[in-house]
């Protein structure tokens, strides 16, 4: 509607928690006081130098920030010759961007006087990051994970348990990320007095989408300077995979005012959008409410959530962060998808040309870069958020490429 007319300039929030018509707070009343408390705590923290200093210290001495950028010419040869620069969130402590958000939310948890932190996790990276922060800060921790995901990301289940977290395998529904979130919400509603729900992406009720974005914005702030320093100019396109959309919002946010920079989100195309087995929300979905926010949602004619599918557990979610919905409807960002086949090709290519093993989630962004690079040609410059490392995916990848020797397992 009128959003399209607003064009390329960043749109201020009309009312708190809304990105255009998306976002909001569709939750049981029982949670509203906790959301208000959280909103107040994070707003206070945002202007409190003590909080800023503590988080910066943690990022410098624990996370390993700033993360570096790496130019990948041998990979770029397969991207139409465009220059490709990777933002290396895979090198953060615990192996993905997720730690940026978690450390900040754990600090906020303590400031709110809560002693327990819970999380959902798909790929396990957010769960591992949460278990890590809980160990570091002495918080009790429970992580909810779909049963299907505990199987395909078994390594991360072990990591969480070793870090002292309780991991609950959720068997309801599709037994993936959305069901883990349902279970985490049930826990939260029951234990909200002592417990903070550390949502792992830019979804959920206000203030989560905005807050989680802000905690990841450091990715884009660093990357913008690093690319300018390395190449003397801004990239033509910034790419990131989009599950809930936190690594993408993190790298996009600082570039939103840079009108010449294309912001490209890559969703999970799964077995192809025609197959119905995918998580390409923007290619198929319509506005609806899930887990507290209005956004694009894979749903049937009655508003029942449809199951998503992806080879990567972290992108296997039927909705998407509301700010992405708004960036897409306003035309500021564009979204495409990569199928499992394309993803595994890009995954393998980065491994073999650059010696970097990406997470399967991040490999979606790489597949997108291969397309965008070809569209841009040799003068192009592409910045890709490499959101995580692929250790957790070795089992899936080895099976895909037929590299598992049954006898040695």
């Amino acid at each position: 509607m009128d959003e399209a007319a607003e064009g390329m300039t960043p749109v201020p929030l009309e009312r708190p928690g809304r990105f255009g018509r998306f976002g909001g707070r569709y939750v049981p009343e029982a949670l509203v006081p906790a959301l208000e408390q959280l909103d107040e705590a994070r707003q206070k923290a945002a202007v409190d130098p003590e909080f800023g200093d503590e988080l910066a210290r943690l990022h410098a001495t624990y996370t390993g920030r700033p993360s570096i950028v790496t130019e990948v010419p041998r990979f770029a040869a397969h991207c139409g010759g465009a220059r490709v620069v990777l933002k290396r969130e895979d090198l953060n402590h615990t192996g993905s961007h997720k730690i940026n958000n978690v450390l900040a939310q754990a600090l906020i948890t303590k400031r709110m006087g809560k002693t327990r932190i819970i999380a959902e996790t798909g790929a396990g990276q957010h769960g591992v990051a949460t278990a890590t922060a809980a160990a570091l800060m002495g918080l009790d921790c429970t992580v909810y994970m779909g049963k299907v995901d505990t199987e395909r990301q078994a390594l991360n289940v072990a990591r969480m348990r070793i870090l002292g977290a309780e991991v609950v395998a959720v068997e309801h529904g599709s037994a993936t990320l959305k069901d883990a979130i349902n279970e985490a919400l049930r826990d939260w509603v029951t234990n909200v007095g002592t417990t903070h729900y550390c949502i792992g992406t830019v979804t959920g009720p206000h203030p989560f989408p905005e807050m989680v974005r802000d905690f990841h914005a450091v990715i884009g702030e660093e990357a913008r300077e690093q690319v300018l320093e390395l190449t003397g100019r801004l990239p033509d396109a910034v790419l990131a995979c989009v599950g809930g959309g936190s690594n993408a919002m993190g790298i996009f946010h600082r570039f939103v005012p840079d009108e010449g920079v294309r912001l490209v989100g890559v969703e999970a195309g799964g077995e192809g959008v025609e197959s119905g087995r995918h998580a390409a929300r923007f290619a198929s979905a319509s506005p609806g409410v899930l887990h507290g926010a209005m956004s694009y949602l894979m749903q049937d004619a009655d508003g029942q959530t449809l199951e998503s599918h992806s080879i990567s557990a972290g992108l296997d979610y039927p909705s998407v962060g509301p700010e992405h919905a708004h960036l897409r409807d306003s035309g500021r960002a564009e979204y495409r998808y990569a199928t499992d086949d394309q993803v595994m090709e890009a995954f393998s290519l980065l491994c073999r040309t650059e010696g970097i093993i990406p997470a399967l989630e991040s490999a979606h962004a790489l597949a997108g870069a291969m397309e965008i690079g070809r569209e841009l040609g040799p003068d192009g410059l592409v910045l890709v958020n490499l959101s995580g490392r692929g250790d957790k995916d070795m089992h899936t990848a080895a099976a895909w490429f037929g590299l598992v020797d049954e006898g040695t397992q």
Binding site: A30, P33, N182, T190, H291, L297, D302, G303
Partner: protein, 274 residues
């Protein structure tokens, strides 16, 4: 009940009658489609015959975040059996014809998907008196406030033990029919004792509005019903009914078990103020 009036009795009539009889109202919940659409409608009739004043006709939903395992499983069964939102309106009609006041209970997305206005029109046409919305707060309910007013439907929002005075004000101002007070922090499911927070919450709600207050979450026995009836205007029972309907054995036997549980609860709501 053969006297056909131009306007069917609504929630206000139920609470007026209960007040006159010196008792609390009994509100029973069942989801449509569990164990099948047909059986669920039969079960709702049993609730009415057994003494429910109000029946909450539940819309099964794929992601019921404020429901415990019993209701979750019932919803999974209902959806797997092909229950549709359309079936809800037929069930509402059946409850109305059986002589009780039907209200629908639904998570918000099925309403959004149908269109808030169309949903309200369909619910009113089926004889529904109102809608209980467990994951919609008045702050997000602009369309529903307008549509419910247009179609004469009551808006039953929830309050919880965590609700602050400000929130109680916001929620009760937007509410009509009655206020649904969650007895405890948590999800639906029968509990051995109903939290002591419940009484305090009823008092807090009464301090800010004149609406009847119903207590739900965790009620499963005649004794609990009586205990709550002593201080609340309605006793709301869900999971215990669902569990009984979903028990072992032939459907006919389970319906009988449902009938006797309902009768027990109906006795309970009449005992509390003795």
């Amino acid at each position: 009940m053969s006297a056909v009036t131009t306007t069917a009795p609504g929630l206000a009539d139920v609470f007026a009658r209960c007040r006159a009889e010196g008792r609390a109202a009994l509100v029973g919940y069942l989801p449509v489609g569990f164990p099948t659409v047909e059986a669920s409608v039969a079960a709702m009739r049993v609730l009415v015959e057994g003494g429910c004043d109000v029946v909450e006709v539940g819309i099964p939903y794929s992601d019921p975040v404020i429901d415990g395992p019993v209701n979750q499983d019932a919803m999974v069964t209902a959806l797997a059996g092909g229950a549709r939102v359309d079936d809800v309106f037929a069930a509402v009609r059946a409850v109305r014809d059986a002589g009780a006041v039907p209200v629908a209970m639904t998570y918000w997305n099925p309403v959004l998907r149908r269109g808030v206005e169309r949903f309200a029109a369909d619910l009113a046409a089926a004889g529904g008196s109102g809608l209980i919305t467990p994951d919609l707060v008045p702050d997000e309910a602009e369309d529903w406030l307008a549509a419910s007013a247009r179609h004469g439907l009551d808006r039953i929002f929830l309050v919880a033990p965590s609700s602050t005075p400000d929130r109680l004000e916001v929620v009760t101002t937007a509410s009509s029919g009655f206020v649904y007070a969650a007895s405890t922090m948590g999800v639906t499911g029968a509990r051995t004792s109903v939290d002591s927070q419940a009484r305090g919450l009823v008092e807090k709600v009464r301090a800010v509005c004149d609406l009847p207050v119903g207590i739900g979450l965790g009620v499963s026995t005649r004794e609990q019903a009586a205990e709550i009836a002593a201080y609340a205007d309605a006793v709301i029972v869900g999971s215990a009914l669902v569990r009984t309907l979903g028990g072992e054995g032939e459907l006919a036997d389970r319906l009988e078990a449902l009938r006797s549980l309902t009768e027990q609860l109906a006795a309970g709501v009449r005992e509390g103020r003795a």
